[in-house]
């Protein structure tokens, strides 16, 4: 699992019941749009995330697309994050090598 994916899953898991839109996830995960959206598309293809369009509150407002982890997605995300954390603890830190998960 890559660092960006770890961050996206972490952001979605922060409140799994809350639907999140793209810009919100960008800020939470600290990822640029060009990295975040392909990841979300892949997660949706895998059935780990579902998306839905919001109903505009005001006339002329463009609807946003919200993302949320599925039940299976929550389980998988928790498992993957736990495994990634365990791997980090097992792996000895090497000088000059970036910490896993720190790369954008």
């Amino acid at each position: 699992m890559t660092g960006p994916l770890e961050r996206v899953l972490g952001a979605l898991l922060a409140d799994p019941a809350a639907p999140r839109y793209g810009y919100d996830l960008m800020k939470a995960a600290g990822l640029p749009s060009g990295t975040l959206y392909p990841l979300l598309a892949r997660l949706e293809q895998q059935g780990l995330v579902v998306s839905a369009w919001e109903t505009p509150q005001q006339e002329g407002q463009r609807p946003r697309k919200y993302y949320q982890l599925t039940a299976g997605g929550i389980q998988t995300a928790r498992l993957e994050l736990a495994q990634a954390s365990a791997r980090r603890q097992r792996a000895p830190a090497r000088p000059g090598r970036p910490v896993p998960g720190s790369l954008g």
């Binding site: 699992m1 890559t2 960006p4 994916l5 899953l9 839109y21 793209g22 810009y23 960008m26 800020k27 640029p32 749009s33 060009g34 990295t35 975040l36 959206y37 392909p38 990841l39 892949r42 997660l43 293809q45 895998q46 780990l48 463009r62 609807p63 946003r64 697309k65 998988t76 995300a77 993957e80």
Partner: protein
């Protein structure tokens, strides 16, 4: 005129450019989704001052271009299909050569050249197989195909030791047909799209 409007137009232009690289079926939906974020970023109350919001909005739009540039274009997918078809053809030719060589060995078991030709044909089959094995979810199929092929080699070795024993030839032919049937069944099950039997692991 407020400076907001031309900025939004510029952002929308960049997002439109990004979406042009996407497959036709998702292009419009992605545009609607990404363009809807532009005014929200431009009015984000958490980001101050206003020029910083404008820069952020343009960076968002520009990065969608980078993101779609990193994904393979539609043309690339056609190429991948062509490469895959080429590999299948290569594999089929290799299997025909293996069958041919087995037939030659059955007709003239004492000819060392036939065994050499069979080795060459098996190596030819090994190349596309080694590429196919890199695709996720193909290992089981590869093992299922290669096991009978290994049996073919053993049977032929037995045939070389005892050229008069026809049972060895029968075994070799039967096992070869088994591996061919497994390969064809796998192709049929996947609807002719290699790599579609992907794993369920989280991407990335």
């Amino acid at each position: 005129m407020k400076p907001e409007r031309p900025l939004l137009r510029l952002g929308e232009f960049l997002v439109r450019q990004a979406c042009q690289r996407l497959p036709r079926e998702v292009r419009e939906e992605r545009y609607r989704e990404w363009a809807a974020e532009l005014p929200a970023i431009l009015h984000d109350p958490q980001v101050r001052p206003a020029p910083r919001r404008a820069v952020r909005m343009l960076a968002y739009a520009a990065d969608t271009v980078r993101g779609t540039a990193m994904t393979p274009p539609v043309r690339g997918r056609h190429r991948a299909t062509r490469v895959s078809a080429g590999l299948d053809l290569f594999l089929a030719v290799g299997l025909v050569l293996v069958a041919w060589d087995i037939w030659d060995i059955m007709r003239a078991p004492g000819h060392a050249l036939n065994y050499l030709q069979l080795t060459w044909a098996l190596l030819l089959v090994a190349y596309p197989l080694s590429i196919l094995v890199r695709s996720a979810g193909r290992v089981t199929v590869l093992i299922s195909i290669s096991s009978p092929l290994a049996g073919v080699v053993v049977s032929l070795w037995n045939a070389a030791q005892a050229p008069g024993d026809w049972v060895n030839y029968l075994w070799a032919a039967f096992l070869f047909l088994c591996s061919l049937a497994i390969w064809l069944a796998d192709r049929w099950a996947r609807g002719g799209h290699p790599g579609s039997a992907g794993s369920q692991r989280v991407p990335g």
